[in-house]
């Protein structure tokens, strides 16, 4: 169990640093902004206390906000992501049994399962993020397209990170 805690703390620090130092400055196409830090929330153990999940979502978002001077923006959208997570897991993988401390990662869900899981949650997160960021409906289509393409980029990067860092279990 302490191994699990340490692994998550390590993942939190690395992902936040990668996000604020590298990915916030990627600037692809002039307006795309991937949010890879949400991988921390995606990979939390499945049996985590649901209130703790929400609080961790809030803390993760607020940590990114601390660096971008956007208090509340990432916090709000990551809380929404954390709120949706248990429901989405139940919806997509209803009959899957999780052991204690087991996370909905690549090894558990398989590449296609993890891809679907990431796809749904990243779209929800990016849409919330884009709407909260402008907080109005001017240029609504532009906001939507920003959310859509940033989501594609986020999903792509999250899949690469996960594929590179997960040691696959041999069956």
């Amino acid at each position: 169990m302490p191994g699990l805690l340490l692994r998550n703390i390590f993942r939190f620090v690395i992902l936040i640093l990668l996000q604020v130092l590298v990915f916030n400055h990627m600037n692809l196409g002039g307006y795309l902004n991937p949010s890879i830090y949400i991988l921390f929330i995606l990979l939390l153990p499945n049996n985590i206390n649901s209130s703790l999940l929400l609080l961790l979502g809030f803390i993760t978002g607020l940590s990114v906000d601390l660096f971008t001077n956007t208090a509340g923006l990432h916090a709000g959208s990551t809380v929404l992501l954390a709120f949706m997570r248990p429901g989405i897991i139940r919806l997509l993988f209803g009959n899957l049994e999780f052991g204690p401390g087991e996370s909905p990662g690549l090894n558990k869900l398989g590449v296609s399962g993890f891809f679907r899981y990431t796809l749904v949650l990243v779209f929800i997160h990016q849409l919330a993020l884009s709407l909260l960021e402008v907080f109005n409906f001017h240029h609504f289509l532009f906001t939507l397209s920003r959310a859509f393409f940033s989501s594609l980029l986020t999903i792509f990067l999250v899949m690469i990170i996960v594929l590179l860092t997960t040691t696959r279990k041999k069956h």
Binding site: M26, F58, G61, T68, A71, G72, E133, V134, H139
Partner: protein
């Protein structure tokens, strides 16, 4: 009442979700207007120090371009020297031209968000205050909205709450410049009097009305102007003279007379 609390406790997950979202939106609401941002922006030295140690590494990669820019600026300043020394007459120096400049290095900046901020490595200790202007060797950059001990945050021109009072250089007409959030190279000129037809290449400069920026500082160059039919005011597109994506050095400028001019304006309006 008791039933309500029981209900909330049973639905802990949902209740906590709503509470955290409300807290987030309340925090976020501080960025909804320029005035609120100015009042509630809290910059911290912690993120600044992480950014600056990181940019200490990455800065080496851009040294060549940065040198080129400085050479160009030196040349421009040199060309102004004879002009400046010839015209100096102790009686004709107007106190409204008293601006002090604090050079600063960018430690973190974005251009891809709807609201972009720039963090620089000078803060309270160096004399930076809120509402100071920020310029680069190429033109206008933004306004300081938050200061910590060693760092400050600039609201760049690429921010939805930003609105700069400008002039068309050729005919002194007053206009305003905003950003429409789509392209970081292009700004929008609004409030153009309907009788004015702008040509691509016309320069837009600061008006000096804001007390923050000196007048005649370059904002950008007009790229296109669609004459609108019917309305009194039309809009046009301009290309910012500052390249916000490659920004490394900025100057923070303080109008020494701002306090006096400000209090005069307040006195008049009372």
């Amino acid at each position: 009442m008791r039933n309500l609390f029981q209900f909330l406790w049973r639905n802990q997950f949902f209740t906590l979700f709503i509470i955290l979202e409300i807290v987030s939106v309340l925090l976020l609401s501080n960025s909804f207007s320029y005035q609120r941002t100015l009042k509630f922006n809290f910059v911290n030295d912690f993120s600044g120090s992480i950014f600056s140690s990181y940019s200490g590494i990455t800065n080496y990669f851009g040294l060549q371009q940065e040198n080129d820019k400085l050479v160009v600026e030196n040349a421009r300043l040199r060309s102004l020297v004879p002009l400046a020394t010839e015209n100096i007459d102790s009686l004709s120096v107007h106190p409204d031209s008293l601006y002090t400049y604090i050079p600063a290095m960018v430690v973190s900046s974005t251009v891809s968000n709807p609201n972009n901020l720039i963090m620089v490595n000078k803060g309270e200790k160096d004399g930076v205050e809120k509402e100071m202007g920020a310029i680069s060797s190429m033109g206008i950059v933004g306004i300081v909205i938050g200061v910590s001990e060693h760092y400050s945050v600039i609201m760049s021109m690429l921010h939805q709450n930003m609105k700069i009072s400008g002039r068309i250089k050729s005919n002194y007409q007053l206009i305003n410049v905003v950003w429409d959030q789509t392209d970081y190279l292009l700004g929008t000129i609004i409030d153009i009097p309907s009788q004015i037809q702008l040509q691509p290449g016309d320069s837009i400069v600061t008006s000096g009305n804001s007390l923050i920026f000196p007048k005649d500082l370059l904002i950008g160059v007009v790229t296109s102007h669609e004459r609108n039919t019917g309305g009194l005011l039309s809009t046009a597109i301009l290309e910012f003279s500052t390249d916000f994506n490659s920004l490394r050095h900025v100057y923070l400028i303080k109008n020494q007379m701002a306090a006096e001019q400000d209090s005069l304006l307040i006195k008049i309006s009372e």
